[in-house]
């Protein structure tokens, strides 16, 4: 009897407990542990055990040109890919936001890139991109256009990778924006028509302002993901040629699993963590302003 009353009194704590333990064990602990390692010197190649080293990992990383290059590339990749995805996604959503035959099959086809495995996508695109035996250079040669080195050339590798990201993730933005468009009330449109507004005016003065919070949500989701992109880049170039497609995540991977320098790898990851956090907070604030 006493037992059951204990349970009853504490139900509100007991029921969420499994979820709480799950979050702590699988999310909070790894982040804190990474933070801890980032303040240490732990290099497996030296054979020495982990020693506390204060900020020295951070100092070393900040003075490493590869790190600064990787920060630049991470932003370049994210901004380039997500902007293109937002513009294309919005366009597709507006086109799809009317009734026409074959709309549902089209939506289904749009979903396909989303469910494809990134590594498989990377391998297929690598076959397209191959400069000697690939499909894309063959098509270019048919039109008499100059051939590209695609992912094998340090100048074209990042745009080529962005293209894959855009191919895969534009549909996600399109679908989110489409859901937002479907939820808009029809009243402003009716009064605008009565006032004689042109379709262009309607789009820029009514649709776009009303849909902006939705677009920003989609952009946050995509950008957070793009900042952390790993699978496509690792599968397609491994950060190469040289270091020319090395983003922060790839760099952290190399420092941990190829150089076994876990202290510096963790400090890169902590930096990336705060970068993503700050970015998300910033866009969320921006979004609130539009909602007012």
């Amino acid at each position: 009897m006493i037992k059951s009353s204990f349970f009853e009194r504490n139900l509100k704590y007991l029921f969420p407990l499994p979820a709480l333990i799950f979050v702590i064990a699988l999310m909070v602990f790894p982040v804190l542990y990474t933070l801890f390692i980032s303040f240490s010197d732990w290099t497996l190649t030296s054979g020495r055990p982990l020693v506390f080293a204060g900020l020295s990992s951070y100092m070393k990383i900040l003075s490493e040109p590869r790190f600064l290059d990787a920060v630049g590339r991470t932003f370049y990749f994210t901004i380039g890919a997500v902007l293109a995805e937002a513009v294309l996604g919005l366009t597709i959503a507006v086109i799809l936001n009317r009734e026409f035959r074959g709309k549902n099959p089209l939506k289904f086809i749009l979903l396909l890139p989303l469910v494809a495995t990134p590594v498989a996508v990377g391998i297929v695109f690598n076959l397209f991109y191959d400069p000697t035996i690939g499909f894309l250079n063959y098509v270019l040669s048919l039109f008499g256009l100059p051939q590209s080195g695609w992912v094998t050339d340090s100048t074209s590798v990042l745009p080529s990778l962005m293209l894959v990201d855009i191919w895969q993730w534009t549909p996600m933005i399109a679908l989110i924006v489409l859901a937002g468009l479907a939820g808009l009330s029809s009243e402003p449109y009716e009064s605008a028509k009565v006032d004689g507004a042109t379709p262009v005016q309607i789009f820029f003065r009514i649709t776009l302002p009303m849909i902006t919070p939705t677009i920003l949500t989609a952009i946050i989701l995509r950008a957070v993901d793009a900042l952390k992109t790993y699978d496509i880049i690792y599968a397609m170039t491994g950060g190469g040629p040289g270091y020319s497609s090395e983003t922060l995540n790839i760099l952290a991977y190399k420092y941990s699993f190829e150089y076994f320098n876990l202290g510096q790898a963790s400090s890169i990851l902590v930096f990336l963590f705060f970068l993503v956090l700050l970015f998300s907070l910033g866009v969320m604030k921006l979004r609130k302003r539009f909602e007012m």
Binding site: T43, T45, S46, G47, D130, P131, I133, G242, F260
Partner: protein, 421 residues
């Protein structure tokens, strides 16, 4: 009545469970990590025989080489490893693993059938930790038909090699290929550096910015930049082999281990009789291609079934399996496997000749032998890429090499491996 029936059923089921549990307890189990390497494939095929003979159950996992290093290192470093026996790359991870005490000492293993340099690399303080499995040396694969059509003979020195690459670089076929992808190129450019008289390390000090080494790096960059396939700076062997197999490459220098795949009719479009294997042409100073123990096998120091693990190791490195592997063009480290008459009759004579040449003249390292070899390879790779991108003409190559040499020396110092010992 019903209850009694149920009781009997439960007792019967639990007994049968116990019986099974008992049988499982008796059967020994070991966990074995293999590489995606022709010898790993051969072992996988043969393991059922070992299981039937000994009653030991072998749980095999196969991984690509860099993933294998990662998995072993993370498991050992976190102390969570349940690995008993594994394939290992003596030059890549040997120093790191011996330093951390992850290999089990092999006191009772009979090493008399192995060449000394191959065994010595896996030794620390006189104790051996690695059984050498496979040897690799650098060779030159070439297209006999293209050479014949162009009226050129097989190059024997670097001047002839450059002339041949230039002459054969036409009609959509690249004249010369070798690894250009940063870190991956380090092992293949090593012989070029040696043949110009350079080294990566001398007495554990990085010296790849010496004039001799630089000359080798420039030569390699000139050949690949001018006559290499498009995108060669992102190509390792797995990208070059399909190009050679598709008939788009006239000369390809890489490790001897790929010979079997190059002439495999299911993978290649060129007839086997058009593929030649020759020794790497000699350089202006030396004639010493790398010849290394590329793969070995070791036991984990934390193995809980060390008897079964030792039994597996003895079997997996046995002379019988070595001969079986040699018949499949896998070049083994055991001396006696090379003397077997049946093997000599079956193997490609080019492989036998180039092995004999490399064993006599070669250099037993294809990369800087150090714990932080992963990072060192990336640093050297930067210099190689700069040389290829500029076709060997870069004016800042010397300063770049000096900077990277310094960085590699810093790594050696940080790991307590610099100089002396």
């Amino acid at each position: 009545m019903k209850k009694i029936g149920l009781f009997v059923l439960i007792v019967a089921i639990s007994f049968s469970l116990f019986a099974q549990g008992g049988a499982e307890e008796k059967q020994e189990e070991i966990r074995v990590l293999l590489a995606n390497h022709p010898y790993g494939e051969l072992l996988k095929e043969a393991i059922p025989e070992f299981e039937a003979e000994t009653g030991i159950k072998v749980n095999v996992e196969s991984l690509q080489e860099s993933q294998l290093t990662q998995k072993l290192t993370t498991e050992f470093a976190t102390g969570s490893s349940t690995v008993d026996v594994f394939m290992t790359r003596p030059l890549q991870e040997g120093l790191l693993f011996t330093k951390n005490g992850w290999y089990a000492p092999l006191d009772s293993y009979d090493f008399s059938d192995y060449p000394d340099p191959a065994v010595d690399i896996g030794k620390k303080d006189g104790v051996a930790y690695i059984v050498p499995l496979v040897t690799e040396w650098q060779v030159m694969y070439y297209r006999k038909d293209l050479f014949k059509a162009a009226g050129i003979s097989v190059p024997t020195n670097f001047e002839e090699l450059e002339a041949a690459a230039k002459a054969l670089n036409k009609d959509g076929i690249a004249g010369f290929g070798s690894r250009g992808k940063g870190a991956a190129s380090v092992t293949q450019i090593s012989s070029y550096i040696y043949n110009f008289g350079g080294r990566y390390l001398e007495d554990n000090v990085a010296v790849f910015d010496s004039p001799e080494a630089l000359e080798g790096i420039r030569y390699y960059g000139r050949l690949l930049g001018n006559y290499g396939p498009q995108g060669v700076v992102s190509m390792s062997w797995e990208n070059l082999m399909p190009v050679f197999q598709a008939g788009k490459l006239a000369i390809w220098t890489d490790a001897s281990v790929f010979y079997g795949q190059v002439v495999d009719p299911s993978k290649t479009q060129i007839p086997a009789e058009d593929v030649g294997v020759a020794q790497l042409p000699r350089g202006p100073k030396e004639d010493s291609p790398f010849i290394v123990a590329s793969w070995g096998m070791s036991m984990s120091n934390k193995s809980k079934n060390s008897d079964a693990a030792k039994q597996f190791l003895d079997w997996a490195t046995s002379k019988e399996l070595a001969i079986e592997a040699m018949k499949r063009n896998i070049t083994m480290a055991r001396d006696s496997a090379w003397l077997d008459e049946e093997v000599r009759a079956m193997m490609n004579p080019g492989l036998i000749e180039t092995q004999a040449h490399a064993a006599l003249n070669g250099f037993p390292f294809d990369r800087p032998f150090m714990s932080a070899v992963g990072q060192a390879r990336d640093l050297i790779g930067e210099v190689v890429i700069e040389s290829i991108n500029t076709k060997g003409t870069s004016s800042k190559l010397a300063s770049l090499a000096a900077e990277k040499t310094q960085a590699v020396n810093d790594l050696l110092k940080a790991d307590g491996e610099y100089g002396g010992n």
